[in-house]
Symmetry: C2
Subunit: 268 residues, 2 copies
Amino acid sequence: MITSFSNPLIKSIRKLSLHKERQKCGQFLVEGIKSVAEAIQVDAKIETLIIAPGLLVSGFGQSIVEQSQKKSIPIVEVSDEVFTAISNKDGPQGIAAIVHQNWTKLAQINPGSNEIWIALESIQNPGNLGTIMRTGEAIGAKGIFLLDQSTDPYDPTAVKASMGALFSLKLVKTEFKNFSAWVQEKKVPLIGSSDKVEQDYMTYQYPNPCILIMGSERQGLSVGYLKLCEQIVRIPMLGRSDSLNLAVATGIILYQIFNQRRGIDFPA
Amino acid sequence: MITSFSNPLIKSIRKLSLHKERQKCGQFLVEGIKSVAEAIQVDAKIETLIIAPGLLVSGFGQSIVEQSQKKSIPIVEVSDEVFTAISNKDGPQGIAAIVHQNWTKLAQINPGSNEIWIALESIQNPGNLGTIMRTGEAIGAKGIFLLDQSTDPYDPTAVKASMGALFSLKLVKTEFKNFSAWVQEKKVPLIGSSDKVEQDYMTYQYPNPCILIMGSERQGLSVGYLKLCEQIVRIPMLGRSDSLNLAVATGIILYQIFNQRRGIDFPA
């Protein structure tokens, strides 16, 4: 059992909170029973499972350890104090995993009928990104295009907010030039969002498949992406409001697309 | 101009980040052009306006200062360095205000026809609370009941996330016993949310007026509140998802209530 904070493995785990370190090694840290269970269920490539026996008290937690043993995943035990030091949670559950990042190349994506994808232009807040991944999983989205200067889905805050959803979504990192060429080649309709258009998000018939593209928290969608859109929709707002939180706005439109797919829709 | 970090006013402003200090003095700090402008527009009781002339460069910012002068609001100038130290923003805009908290007593609330209210049981995350206030303003909600051990709407993170919306909502702090007595006396229908019921949130006709009640991030609604509800609705989810982010879930149901009010609804 590792009890020293200066153990090389513990030091390398702590470094995974830094973007440049994650980029260098292509790994990230996932924490908590639900998220680690999801990583194992989807057969994510797990480098090491880290457990603190004193903190891992639940039966479900124990069963994850057993599953990992069956899959020959290396397991390292650490003291409760060491685990708490590497933890990003208020109540550490005593289980975490070092997992290999899993990026999909843009050229490999061919959206099939009925698929819903999400594209985010320069999203800044990792909490928003994680929350959008969580909503994306709930409506059955296939994946997320992270465009231009978007934050990292493997940032600890994004991983935490995604509640394991990042394992079930394809993640594609690209920028304007390649993405616009790909959209035009594949002819997948891009649907944008803006408060400066007339089209109500509720009375529009979303195409199959489609990509919902949302702009950054501060600036919304830039002109280049707006021009790529087949349609731009608006979420109506009352009072002095001129915008919603990005994760909320994305969730509201995604659920309307999902509601249409499941046959619940306002007749236009 | 205040240039010293140990100036008594600066020290008292920094203390406003602590809950117990806010409770003692009944004030809080609001920051940024949009939020301060909203405080002035709704005639919030402003104790002091704080500006850093070197940072406050926009014309709109200048016009807020002029409005404040007309309203005889005391204005204090501070150096850019001092302002940056009291700021909670990445890019400080050089304008902030010390504002009096504005609570409404439960007994004063008589929800009128068409009104939408939000109730939150022991919401923990101030960012979620601020985001819900922001969505609440956008759909024209009248106010928020903060139940039991809910976080403080005047917490800096909540204030920031609300983007000024907290000034246009009535805020009521109460707990189960008084709230349940009030609900039964006023006969205002309470609509809850849970993943354990059959009723789809989309095919339910929300009453006028109504209160949407949401549970805490970790535990959802407790049994006592569920029993108080006229109806409990469910947001459908696919895959391994069993919950959404609280602010996203609240936003999705609020928008459905709002859509019904504005005549956009799935025919049941």
